[in-house]
């Protein structure tokens, strides 16, 4: 049979394809319906948090930070309750990471504050002496792309049926109407910060990346579903 296959490239290619596709069919497909169910009461990310998630992706935090607490005592002691599948239901993409040069962040919102993040992102060594993390001062200047984050929320709602409210609708008009809500949320974060340039920018309707990022980091943890219980 193998000699025959080697002389018939078409059937050879079909044979190879079936052999390699087999594992995916059995291992990946069956899980889809089950694992995408959210834990009870989980709320979707707000638009500001989504913009923060984009900053997290852009500066590629997953190169050094995981968002997956494994079910070991050493990990739950350090980071809190181990991660549940349903907590990730609204994470597109998943941001578990594969390397912990720095600590896990899946519940960082449970034990760090806006103030802590502000100091840490500006100068990590001032908060954690000996840290090898670089400063991310450009996040205090760069303006977050709120419109793209809103576009993502619209997509999540309309394509993937993520339970956003009726005020999330496609089109420029809907976005203009929604924008004040995002700015109000940003102002709350900025109120807890001390950097005057950031406060001024937010007051002028421009949200620096750091504000969105802190909103996102604060949302990581059990606050997104425990508050509703």
């Amino acid at each position: 049979m193998f000699h025959w296959l080697e002389k018939n490239p078409f059937f050879f290619a079909v044979g190879v394809f079936v052999t390699i596709a087999f594992a995916g069919l059995i291992e990946i497909l069956p899980n889809f319906a089950e694992a995408s169910r959210p834990v009870a009461g989980l709320r979707p990310y707000t638009v500001l948090e989504l913009a923060g998630k984009e900053v997290y992706k852009k500066d590629n935090c997953i190169a050094c930070h995981s968002q997956l607490i494994r079910p070991f005592k050493a990990e739950t002691d350090r980071y809190g309750q181990y991660s549940l599948s349903g907590e990730y239901a609204y994470d597109r993409p998943f941001l578990w990471g594969s390397k912990r040069t720095g600590p896990d962040l899946h519940r960082v919102g449970n034990y760090r504050t806006t103030d802590w993040h502000e100091n840490h992102m500006w100068d990590p060594q001032s908060v954690v002496p000996g840290s090898i993390m670089p400063a991310y001062k450009h996040q205090f200047k760069n303006i977050a792309d709120l419109e793209t984050a809103y576009a993502e929320a619209v997509t999540d709602k309309n394509v993937f049926h993520v339970p956003y409210g009726d005020d999330i609708q496609p089109g420029k008009k809907a976005w203009e109407a929604y924008k004040p809500k995002v700015l109000a949320e940003a102002k709350k974060i900025a109120a807890d910060m001390k950097n005057q340039d950031v406060k001024d920018a937010v007051a002028a309707g421009k949200v620096p990346e750091i504000v969105a990022l802190i909103a996102y980091l604060n949302s990581l943890g059990s606050s997104r579903y425990e508050a509703k219980k």
Partner: protein
């Protein structure tokens, strides 16, 4: 395989890809050395402002070495060896020649644009699949043009039976096509939101645990079909060609090919042990990873036994040395991987530096060594000149071998130290170390790894220099060398 004197093979496309292999290899390894140094000396993060942090540069390093260096190497060797094993010249078909050149130029400009987009931070944040959807479309076009070239050549072949190398190139083509398509399924938000925001942005079709499953089914097997399968294709062609020895066993090559095809895909979930992925999938990933030793070692042993009775060549020909060491590192790496995939070992190893250590003994020792050896073998035949310097090749071999050993030993120690410190508890059951303790203790190992990077990069520069000299100013050859590559 006999040489066919009547047929004049056309190497114009193979040459183009040879140049980009050298270019992207230099670029990717330079960035790699820089980011390795940043972990030891964090001040190096501020060389390029926002664009120079470790986090921004790391995907640039991985993408350039995988999709720049390795893919170029795969295609350079493909456009060289496929003609020869199929006994047909690219020059015989204007269409295939055009497709080959189209393939190259689309790839080259696509790759440059991709580099810029990663520097700007435009990313899906899925490892090794960072590029956003417009790039994915370009990549599909590049892939399809390779497919047309490959199956076109097969269509007009004179040698009816496909040689082993061709099996692996076909598998590389099909495997990556399937994995890449499914993992990059995403919805561009611009079109679903009535024209809001950035046109580059997209949302993954899968969420959370499902996304993780698809991503690591892709991630692990991109390694399989990018770093293993086509590299095995190379060694099956170039080792017998360089040594003049026949492949040791046809049956063993059959067993390891079909075994590898069937088993590799199951192993992806070993990247997700102890995660929220269902337990049975984790166990499957673990078991199949261990079974994977069989076909991997099958190929490697087949290659080593091909040298049976001719081991003296190892001392006389540095090219054989590169290939034999590549096989050996392949064996080391494919034993180390399954060990890390055992659940209890993984509990310590996962998230630590042992993982990059494992990746690099595979890629530096196996992938890069094999690609360099293949290009060294091709150079005298493509450029009709002898290899510029044997001495330099010897020196390069030892320099880079030292570098690989330094790299993986330092990362073994770093990884296991880290893993043990994270879980260490005192007599009352409290954690013994704060996280920063586990970072500070690694400094010497990061410094050693950075040194390993500098050594390896130096070796690669010697390779590049040797190749460029071979292309331009080495002694010309009057006829094509039969087996052993001539070198000065």
């Amino acid at each position: 395989m006999q040489s066919n004197a009547a047929l004049e093979y056309d190497y114009s496309v193979a040459k183009l890809f040879t140049y980009t292999t050298i270019l992207f290899g230099f670029l990717g390894m330079t960035i790699g050395t820089l980011i390795a140094s940043q972990m030891a000396f964090p001040e190096l993060n501020y060389l390029l402002g926002e664009y120079g942090t470790f986090s921004r540069l790391r995907p640039l390093h991985t993408n350039i070495v995988i999709y720049g260096f390795t893919l170029s190497g795969i295609w350079a060797t493909f456009y060289y060896s496929a003609q020869r094993v199929l006994k047909v010249s690219m020059a015989e078909s204007k269409f295939l020649m055009f497709m080959g050149k189209f393939h190259f130029w689309l790839y080259f400009f696509g790759a440059l644009a991709a580099v810029v987009s990663l520097l700007l931070g435009i990313t899906q944040s899925k490892e090794y699949a960072q590029l956003e959807w417009p790039f994915d479309i370009v990549i599909v076009l590049i892939w399809v043009s390779w497919g047309i070239g490959m199956f076109g050549l097969i269509g007009i072949r004179r040698e009816k039976a496909l040689y082993i190398s061709m099996w692996y190139y076909i598998a590389c083509f099909l495997g990556i096509a399937m994995l890449y398509l499914f993992n990059n399924m995403a919805v561009p938000t611009y079109f679903t939101s009535g024209g809001l925001g950035s046109i580059m942005h997209s949302v993954s079709m899968y969420s959370g645990t499902n996304d993780a499953l698809v991503q690591w089914w892709f991630g692990h097997n991109a390694v399989a079909f990018g770093f293993t399968v086509p590299i095995v294709a190379m060694i099956y062609y170039f080792l017998p060609k360089e040594s003049g020895q026949a492949v040791y066993s046809y049956k063993l090559s059959l067993l390891s090919f079909w075994g590898l095809m069937f088993i590799y895909l199951w192993a992806g979930s070993h990247h997700l042990l102890w995660s929220t992925v269902p337990d049975w999938m984790q166990t499957m990933g673990s078991i199949f990873s261990v079974v994977l030793i069989l076909p991997s070692w099958g190929s490697a042993i087949n290659m080593l036994l091909t040298m049976k009775g001719e081991w003296n060549q190892l001392t006389e020909n540095p090219l054989i040395k590169f290939m034999v060491l590549a096989s050996t590192f392949y064996m080391l790496s494919t034993l180390e991987g399954p060990i890390q995939a055992i659940k209890s070992v993984n509990a310590i190893a996962h998230f630590t530096d042992w993982i990059p250590g494992h990746v690099h003994d595979g890629v530096l020792g196996w992938v890069v060594f094999m690609i360099m050896a293949a290009l060294y073998h091709m150079a005298p035949r493509m450029f009709k000149r002898e290899i510029y310097s044997k001495k330099m090749m010897e020196a390069q071999f030892w320099l880079q071998t030292t570098a690989v050993v330094l790299y993986f030993t330092s990362m073994w120690i770093a990884g296991i130290t880290q893993g043990m410190m994270w879980r260490a508890v005192d007599e009352y059951g409290n954690l013994m170390y704060s996280f920063i303790d586990t970072v500070e203790v690694l400094h010497p190992y990061y410094a050693i790894r950075a040194l390993a990077g500098v050594l390896y990069l130096t070796g690669f520069l010697m390779f590049a220099f040797n190749m460029i000299k071979t292309m331009t100013s080495s002694r010309q050859l009057t006829e094509e060398p039969q087996f052993r590559s001539p070198m000065a």
